[in-house]
Subunit: 500 residues, 4 copies
C-alpha cells in the first residue's frame, strides 16, 4: 500500500549506493526453498546472490515444524552482515521451509515494520509473504479495506495481499491467496510460506521474474534470478510462467493458472540494467544480450575513436561488444572506488570540486589526449552521466562520444522499478541534441528500438502486442494504472502516522 | 491480545529491577494533554513522574495540526533517556495534543511493535491509544476477529480495542471507541487521541486509576496518578469515575457514562504498593494510608524490639507508622544501592554468597546485637524477603520480627498487575507458621483484613459488594474471567510468529 | 596529570547524577584482591558496592598467571552494566589477582584512555595502578618528565606515578613504586598490581581512605570502604594507616612506612557526604556519626516545627537524629524519583516550571500547612537547596527551617573531591543571613565546628594539628599546593591534543 | 612497536575483504596538506581515494591555530562512514594543516589506541605522526627505550619514532624527528604535523611511496599515491626521493637529505598489486605497467584458447594486455559481488558447496565448453586461486590455463606488506608443476623475472644493485632485519596487557 509517508522519502545520492544508477534503483529480490534442513542457510546464500536487487534490508522467515511456529529475522542492511555466523541469526531460524527477501536501497522513512517477508496469523494458520514488484491498484484496495475495518500494520503495498487473503471466504490457504491475487493489477513475483506449503506466483504479464530450480536432492527452489541457483549449487528447472501460481508441498510442485490468458511481456529492464550479468533471463544470457546491445549500437552509430571505455560496471558488457564490433581498443578509463561508505563529506569548495565523484576516478594516463567512446547501459536523469563526462574531460580526453545501450527512457515505470518522475527523466523533456549539449559530449547516440529488439533476438517489435514491457521507452503500459489515475484526478489528503 | 509468545517470557530477577518487588511488577502509566504548544514536553515530564509504573519502554504520540499527521516516538528504556534534548525526540513531536505511555519492565519477547501508544489509520481518521490494565476477554475477542479476517500487528491485548473500533458501524470516532469498550471485560484506563479529540476511559469497576487535572491556563490533563500533575505544575480536578468516558476537544470536557451502573471497586494494590507515596488516590494520601497500615499493624501485632527497620523504599511509610505507634526507634537498617544496572554477575561461589543482595546492603553497626522489626508493604513469592532476612541475620541481629502492611496475597490478579501464578504465591500454599519458618524469622504477622479496611478509612468491609477490589486477598473477583476459564477448559495450540 | 583538556569539562547538572549533590561529586573508589580464582568477580562485586564513589566508568585488571599476561576490561558506565554475565567481561579476566576502579561521574572530555586502572609495560614487568585522590604537584612533575622525554598517554594525574616508577633506578618494583610516591604531594589511596604482588598505599595525611579485609579463606582484600567488604562476605581487618604501603604476595602482607611521620588528618567529607552510611570509617559507623551530627544540630539550633524532613538520601540519618533530639516527628516530605536517566528535557516554559525538579517530588499532603525543618548533609553552591526549598514552599509548607549537618563550606578541596571553585561556594561569599535570604527560608543554621568535632567523638579541635582534614571549613590545608600556586603565578598556555 | 599481541591476530578470510587477495593485504596510506581552510575535508577526500591501502580504521589530526590545539578524530571503519557530514567529524577538525591515515584491514586485536595518526605532547610542543611501512628494528629500539623508563601507549612500531623524538636533545622539532629517523631500519613513508610545520619523510631505500602535489592555489600536499591528488583536484609535483625529508611551513617546502646515499629500490608490489591502477608510480602509469605485464606474459607463455578472463579486479589490466597480444577475446567470465559484508554464513553442506565463493560468481553462459585463460596479478597462498579455478571448472570450462602477471612469490616482506609466513607462500614450497596440480589447471605460467623488468621499462635487472626491491621474488633484502634475526635467535617471552 503506497501510504503517503513513502512519498516524501528524500532522494538517494547515487554516488553512495554502490549499484544505484542515475536515479533508478532495483526493487527487491525473493527466494524460497522447501524441504531442507539447511533452509535458512540456503536462503541467506540465495539472497546474498540477489543482493544487487536490494541492499537496504533483508529478511528470512522459516516454519519450524517441530515447534509449530514461524520464525523471522528481519534487519536493515546487507545479507552478509545480518546473517553471519556471529549474529546467530541462522541458528534462530530452524525449519525445513524458508522464504527470504531483499529490499531495495533507499533512505528516510524506512522502519522495521516495512521490511519483508511480512506475516499474519490468519484464521486457519500463519502466512508469510515476500514480494518483488508493485501493485498498481494497491491504494484503491487499501481504501476499500480500511472502510471495512481493516487495520494496516505497514505502509507497503504488499500488505493488501495479506489483508485480502485474511478476508477471503475460501477454505484452502492457497485458494485464499489466489483470491487475493485476482484482485491485483501490476507487476509482482511472490513467494509465500504456510505451515506446510511454499507458494510462488507471477503476475499475468510476467513483469517481474521468478524461476524454479532444484537442488541436487531434488528439493525445489524459487528465486528472482538464476544467479541465486548457481550460488547454492542448484540447477535451473524452468521459468515460472506469466500468470502462473505454483504450490509446493511434500507431494511436489503443483502448477495453477488462475488468471485469464494474457500476452506475456517481461520487463526489458532486467536485460538493460537490473539482472546480474551471469543470470539467464527467459533463456538468454544477460551478459551476452548486453554485449549484443553494444554490437548493434556500434553498427548503428559508429564513430572514429581511440578507446572504448565502459561506465563501470553496468556498461562493461555493452562496451566490450561495441569494441569488438568497431575494432577500437577496450580499456578501463574509469576506475571504480569500492569503498564508498554510506554518505560522505560535502566539499566546501564550489565549482570544479563539485564535479569530482567519489565513486568513480578517471584513469588519467589512459585518457589524456584520447578520443573516447563512453558506453553506458542507460541514461535516466542524466546528472551522473554529466558528472562522469566532466571527469573524463578534466582528465584530458580530446573527444568524448557517449553511446547508450538502451533506447531513451521517456516514461516512468509503475511495476516495481523505483524511478524518478517523468519530469526528471532527461529524455522525456530534451531532444537528443539538447541532451548532447547538456552532457557536453561531442556526440550522443542511443540504440534504436528496432536494434534493441534485434539484439534481444525477438525480430521486429509486435506493436499490437509487444514481446516485452517496453513502456519506459514507448509509453505502452500493459496494465491499468488505477492508483496513478486516481492520484491525477484528486490530490487526496490523507492522515498518517509518521513513526519513529 | 495475549498471544502465546507472551507466555514464555523469562522471569525478571527482582534484584535488578529498581522498583520490582518479589515477583510483582507495575503495569503501565498513561498520560494525555490537550491544547498546549508544549504538549510533548509536558507528556514527557508526566511520564517521567509515572516512571515507577513501567520502566521497560515509553512512547508519545502527538497530532500535528499543521502537518495533519500523527507523530510517534516509541522506544525501549526510560523516559529520561529517550526524551532528552540531545535525542531530539521532542522536536520530532510537534502538535498541541499528545498522549503517552510507560510500559512495565520485563525482559525477553519485547519488540518495538509492542510498545504503546498503538496507532491505526481508520476509515474516518487516525486513532492512537495507550492502555493501563488488562482485558480479561481479549483472547476470546481476538479469536473472533481473526476468524473474520482481522490481522493483528502486535501481541498486546490493547490491540483488540483498535480492531473493534475499526469495525464499528457508528459514525463519530468516540462512539466507535465506546462501541469497542462495551465488548471488554477487565481493568483498564485508556487515553486515546484522534485528530481533534483527547479521550479518557476507565473500566466500569474503576480497577485502574485515571485522574483529570488542569494546567494554570486551564488546559486539561489526564493521567494515572496525581504525582504527574505535580510534576508539570497542574492542579487536580477530579477522578475519572469508574465506567466514565471523557471526550476532550476545543469545546471542553464532555463526560459520558456508556456502561450499566456497577459498584466501583478500585484496586487496593495502588495503596499497598503501586502508587507513588506522594500521589493522592481517590482522595487519600497514599503515604498517609501506608503510615496508617503501619499504625494498625503495630496495634495488632506488637512485639518488644529495639529497632523498626523498613524494607526500603516500599516499607518506609508503614515502618514510620509502626515506629510511632509502638514507640520503638525507627532506623535505616537496610541501605539501598541505587546503581543496580541491568543485570549482574553471577557469583561463582555457592552458599552464603548467594544470599548477598546487590540491591540492599545491611547497616551492620545499627543491626548488630539488636532486636529488629522488619516492616514491608507486602509479601508475594517470599524469596526476596527470605534473602533480606538472611542478610539482616548475617549482620548480627539478635531477633527478627517480620511485619507486613497488607493481608496475605493468596490469589493472582487478572487486571493488569503482573504477578506470579497462584502456585508461586507463598501465602497461597503456606500457613503463617510455615511462612515464618521459610523466612526464618522469630515472628511473622500480616495486617488483618478488617484492620486493613480500617486503615483505608472505609469502616467494615461490605462483603456483598466490597468497597475495593481485594481479590488478591479474598478471591472475590469483580468481573468474569473469560480467557482464564477458556485456558482452563482447553490447552489450545496456536501457531504464532516468533519475531526478531 | 591535570592536562588542560580536563578544565573545560562542562558542569554536570546535579539533577541527573543520582548521587551528585549541589556541585560536589565523589571521586573514585578502588578495590584489590589477592589469591582467589574468582578475583575478577569479587572485584566487580566490590566495585558495585563502591559505585556511589564514581559512576562514570569502571575498570578491572587481572594478572593471568597461566598466560603470563595482564588482562584489562575498562568501560564507560556502571559496574552492573559492564560486568554482567551477558557481557562476558568477567570470563575475559582470568587470574588470581585483580584490582579495580570506579571513576566519578562527569561528562564531556571523557575518553577510554582516561579510565583506570592504567597500565604500563616496564623494564622488569607490567604494572597496573588504580587511584582515588588527587596529586597536588602532578603538573609540576609532568612538566619535568616531558622535558626529559616522557610521553604521556592520558590526561590523568595518576599517570605521573607510572612514569616516575618507569624511571626509578631501584630494582624491586615495590621500591620503584615507593620511589615514585615519595615525590608526590596530595591525597591518594592506590592499589597496584604486578605479576606477583598486590600493593596498597595511602598518602601520609590519610586524606583518602583504604582498608584491609580478609575473605573467609584468609585471602587479603584492599578497598576504599568497608561496605565493599560486606558485599563480598569479607571481614574487616584494619585501616591502612596514613603513609603506609602494604605489599601483598604469596607470603602474606608486608607493611612499609616509607614516608616521614606526619600527623594523620583524614578527610571529614567521608563522614559528611561521601562514604556509604553502612561503612565504618576509622572505627566509626558513618550512619551513627551522621545521626549524631543531627542530634548536635538539634541541640544547637532548635526550632518549633511539625515535621523533620530529610533531603534524601544524604540528609536521612541527620534528620533522624534531629527528630530524635527535638521530639518532632520525622517524615518523608520529599520523594525521590529513582528513574532519572542521563539527561532530560528542557522545559519550554519559564518561571515556576524551572523550579520543578525531576529528581525530587514534594509529598504534598504531608507538607501542606506545615512547619517543616529541612535537614541536609551540606550546602555547596546552594542552587539545588534553593530549588528544593521552592518546591516545598509550592507544596504548601507554612514555615521552612533549613538545618545543615556540616559547617559552612568556604574553601575548595584539592585532594580528590570534585568541587566548584571558591567563587561558586555559597558560604564563601555570603553570610548566614544572606544565604537564608537566597534560599528563601524562615531560618537557616549550620552545625558549629566545635559541635561537629564533638559529634565526631574527637573532643575539641586541635587547632595546631587538626584531627581531621577540615580545610573546606577552615582553610587549613595539610599539604603544599604546588600546582595551584603555579597556576596563580602564571596563566600558562599549553598545547594539547583534543582527542576524539 | 611490534608487541606480541599483534602476532596472534586471526587471519582474515579474503572472501570478505573486498580488496584483500589471497592472504596479502595493503598496509596503510598517508596524506597531509598545509595552509588550507578546508584542510580536514581535503584530507578526508584524499584518504577516501587511498582507501584501497587500508580499510580497517582511519584518522585525521589537524592543528587549530586559533585554539592553539591539535584536534583528532580516529575511528574504526571506512573514511566515507566516519567523515560524513552527519557524523560532524569534519566540523570538529578546524585548522589549516592536517595529516591523515588509513590503516589496513585486519581483525582481532585492533583497539582505538592503535589507530593513527598517533600524537604526543613533547617538551617543545605537540607532534602527530602517520606512518605507512614497517620498522625492521622497532622491537630492538623498543626494548632499549623501556629499559630507560619509556612507557609505550600503543603496540605500533610507529610509536618508537615518537619516543625517540621525545628523547632527542636537538632543539628544532624537525631535527629531533630526523634524529629519530636515523635510528630506524626498514621501509616507511611518514607524514608528521607540528604546530607550524608539515613534515614528510621517505626511507633511504624508497620502499614505501610518497609524492608531493600542489592544489591550484599552490598549497602543498603529501600523499601515498597520485590518485589522491586527482581526487582533490591537485596536480602532481614530484616524488619525494628515497631518503628525503621535506619540511613544509609558511615559507615553503625545504628538502633535507639526512641519510647517507643509498641505491633507491622502490617496492615492486606497488606495481603488481598495491597501487590503484589510475596512479602514476615513479613516472609510470600503474595501469599501463600492468597491461605490459600481460603483454609480456602472453609472449612468454602463449596458449590456444577461446577466452581471456581476468580474476577481477586485480587481473583486469594484465588480462587486457594478454588479450591484445594474443588476439584472443577478452571477457568477464567472473562476476564480482560487491555486497560482501563483514563476514558470512558457514555453509552447512560439505563438498562442492565449500568451493562456492561469495565474492566471485562464474558467468556460466560465457564459460561453458570454453578454453579459458585466467589472468591474475599474483599468487600468494594459492587457496583463493584454487577456489576460483574450481568455480570456473564447475561452470563448464573445457580447459583452464592460469597466467600470473608477476614472478613466483617465494620470500616474505618485512617492510609493511602484511603477508603470510614463508611456509604459507605456495611458491616457496612447490615447483611450478606442483602448483599446477594443486590448482588443478591445464597449464600454469608466471611472468619471468627478466620479462617483468622489461615490462617495468628498466631493461635488465642490475643484480648487484637491483632497481627495485624485489626480495619477495629473489630473497635479496635491501636492509638489515634486526628484529627478525633476534626472533630467530631467541623465542623471547614478553608480558603484555591484553586490553579491552
Amino acid at each position: 500500500m503506497a501510504s503517503p509517508d513513502v512519498f516524501d522519502e528524500p532522494g538517494l545520492d547515487d554516488d553512495f549506493c554502490p549499484d544505484a544508477k542515475d536515479g533508478m534503483r532495483h526493487k527487491c529480490g525473493v527466494f524460497g526453498v522447501f524441504g531442507r534442513e539447511d533452509a535458512a542457510v540456503l536462503t541467506a546464500l540465495g539472497l546474498h546472490a540477489l543482493q544487487h536487487r536490494g541492499q537496504e534490508a533483508c529478511g528470512i522467515v522459516t516454519f519450524d515444524g517441530r515447534g509449530g511456529t514461524f520464525r523471522s529475522e528481519r534487519h536493515m542492511g546487507l545479507v552478509g552482515d545480518n546473517f553471519s555466523e556471529e549474529t546467530g541469526a541462522i541458528s534462530r531460524l530452524p525449519g525445513r521451509m524458508a522464504i527470504g527477501h531483499n529490499r531495495y536501497s533507499t533512505s528516510g522513512r524506512v522502519v522495521l515494520r516495512n521490511i519483508q517477508p511480512i506475516y499474519a496469523d490468519l484464521a486457519h494458520g500463519g502466512l508469510a509473504v515476500a514480494h518483488n514488484g508493485n501493485i498498481t491498484n494497491a491504494r484503491a484496495i487499501h481504501r476499500e479495506l480500511v472502510r471495512n475495518g481493516a487495520i494496516f500494520q505497514s505502509t507497503m503495498d504488499t500488505e493488501v495481499v495479506l489483508q485480502l487473503t485474511a478476508r477471503s471466504i475460501r477454505n484452502r490457504i492457497e485458494d485464499r491467496f489466489i483470491d487475493a491475487l485476482r484482485q491485483l493489477d501490476g507487476g509482482y513475483a511472490f513467494v509465500a510460506l504456510t505451515n506446510d506449503k511454499l507458494i510462488g506466483a507471477r503476475d499475468p504479464w510476467g513483469l517481474r521474474p521468478l524461476v524454479l530450480g532444484a537442488l541436487e536432492d531434488g528439493s525445489p527452489v524459487l528465486c528472482s534470478e538464476t544467479c541465486a541457483l548457481d550460488a547454492i549449487g542448484a540447477s535451473f528447472v524452468r521459468n515460472i510462467e506469466a500468470g502462473e501460481v505454483v504450490v509446493i508441498d511434500k507431494d511436489g510442485v503443483e502448477s495453477l493458472t488462475p488468471f485469464p490468458a494474457t500476452r506475456a511481456s517481461p520487463c526489458v529492464f532486467e536485460y538493460v540494467y537490473f539482472a546480474r550479468p551471469d543470470s539467464i533471463m527467459h533463456g538468454q544470457s544477460v551478459y551476452e544480450t548486453r554485449r549484443r546491445f553494444g554490437r548493434v549500437l556500434a553498427s548503428e552509430s559508429h564513430v572514429d575513436a581511440d578507446l572504448i571505455c565502459p561506465v563501470p560496471d553496468g556498461g562493461n558488457p555493452a562496451a566490450l561488444g561495441y569494441a569488438e564490433a568497431s575494432n577500437i581498443p577496450f580499456g578501463f578509463g574509469i576506475i571504480r572506488n569500492h569503498y564508498v561508505g554510506r554518505t560522505f563529506i560535502q566539499p566546501t569548495q564550489t565549482g570544479r570540486q563539485r564535479s569530482i565523484s567519489r565513486k568513480h576516478a578517471p584513469n588519467r594516463p589512459l585518457l589524456e589526449n584520447t578520443r573516447v567512446v563512453l558506453v553506458d547501459d542507460s541514461i535516466v536523469r542524466g546528472n551522473t552521466s554529466q558528472r562522469i563526462v566532466q571527469m573524463i574531460r578534466d582528465a584530458g580526453a580530446r573527444e568524448i562520444h557517449f553511446r547508450v545501450a538502451s533506447p531513451p527512457i521517456r516514461h516512468p515505470d509503475f511495476y516495481g522499478i523505483d524511478m524518478p518522475s517523468k519530469e526528471e527523466l532527461i529524455a522525456s523533456s530534451m531532444t537528443i541534441e539538447q541532451m548532447r549539449r547538456y552532457l557536453k559530449v561531442d556526440s550522443l547516440a542511443f540504440i534504436s528500438l528496432p536494434g534493441f529488439y534485434e539484439a534481444l533476438g525477438q525480430g521486429k517489435r509486435n506493436d499490437a502486442a509487444p514481446q516485452f514491457a517496453d513502456h519506459c521507452f514507448t509509453g505502452d503500459y500493459p496494465t491499468r494504472l488505477v492508483d496513478r489515475d486516481h492520484d491525477m484526478a484528486s490530490k487526496e489528503q490523507q492522515l498518517s502516522l509518521l513513526d519513529d
